[in-house]
């Protein structure tokens, strides 16, 4: 199973990873605010992740690390 980690404090909540994810399992956490004041992106269902790194490819802030 792929392991995706978000460096949440760097996230600016732009949502590019949300639309890049082919499995549709990333969303912006509407109930959380990071230290920059944004709703950070988070993964909703780790089991479904295929480790394609599409999210990390589109992330402008190097928030995401993908391991397999």
């Amino acid at each position: 199973m792929a392991n995706v980690t978000f460096r949440t404090d760097l996230c600016k909540g732009c949502g590019l990873c949300v639309s890049a994810c082919p499995r549709g399992i990333i969303k912006l956490a509407k109930d959380k605010i990071n230290k920059k004041g944004h709703n950070p992106a988070e993964i909703t269902d780790r089991e479904k992740c295929i480790g394609c790194a599409c999210c990390a490819t589109m992330c402008p802030d190097c928030v995401i690390t993908v391991e397999k």
Binding site: G15, A20, P60
Partner: protein, 252 residues
């Protein structure tokens, strides 16, 4: 096994760019190319004036800040005095295509052995969204509130096409970073632009069609759609010139 992590040629500094700004993606692609080619120790970057003015904080190699538009001239001096080093400039459209057009054209026609990364987002970002030389016909900006009127403001400058008409430059290409496929292709092209310099082939310029969600007044997602629908038809992607491959013009 790590599939994807932050490249080592980027420092730990947080990007100051607006949310969804593709400068971050392009910085990362440049850093990935530096990592892949193992040239971190001898790379020297030249930062522009514009949104990327603080690029020197983000790349973990030696960096020099140039006066507005003069990055190719500064890079020429560095490369000629330190020929073993790998010299690249990172410039926006206001920097390269407007005030720096003379330096760019002359560095290209001299076939200086440098790598130029040119970020085209069709607007002046840092100063608040004025019309740039690359703004599309009809595009609404701070200084063209009724849309760019080509009868008054003229037509956009297509830098890749313009430079590929010269005999001098080695490699001219245009890529985009609006989706995963294009980002992965951009990575290959940027790496090639650095590889050309290592092999001593000469001037390599990669134009990256980019977005500016803040000044376009769009969400980051819609800005990337606008790139796809409006910018790429006007600025077609592809390799325009690759002299050593014998390619004068081949729009992929």
């Amino acid at each position: 096994m790590t599939v994807f992590e932050k490249p080592k040629s980027l420092t730990d500094a947080e990007f100051h760019y607006c949310p969804g700004c593709t400068h971050g993606i392009i910085h990362r692609l440049v850093a990935e190319a530096i990592d892949a080619l193992g040239i971190e120790g001898r790379a020297i970057g030249v930062a522009p004036v514009g949104c990327a003015v603080m690029a020197y904080n983000y790349f973990a190699c030696d960096m020099v800040e140039a006066a507005h538009g003069r990055a190719p001239a500064v890079a020429t001096g560095i490369k000629r005095s330190l020929p073993e080093n790998i010299v690249f400039t990172y410039q926006g459209d206001g920097d390269l295509a407007s005030i720096g057009m003379a330096e760019t054209v002359h560095a290209a026609t001299r076939n200086e052995n440098i790598t130029v990364i040119f970020v085209n987002n069709a607007i002046y970002g840092m100063t608040g969204g004025q019309m740039a030389p690359t703004s599309l016909p009809g595009q609404v900006t701070q200084t063209s509130p009724y849309g760019r009127d080509v009868s008054v403001a003229g037509y956009p400058v297509k830098v890749a096409e313009l430079l590929s008409s010269l005999d001098g430059p080695e490699f001219i290409a245009r890529v985009a970073v609006n989706n995963v496929k294009n980002v992965r292709n951009a990575k290959k092209i940027i790496e090639k632009a650095f590889q050309n310099q290592i092999e001593g082939k000469g001037f390599s310029l990669v134009e990256v069609v980019s977005s500016c969600p803040t000044n376009w007044g769009m969400t980051p997602d819609n800005a990337l759609k606008w790139v796809e629908e409006k910018m790429i038809p006007y600025y077609p992607l592809g390799v325009f010139k690759d002299r050593s491959a014998g390619k004068e013009e081949d729009k992929a």
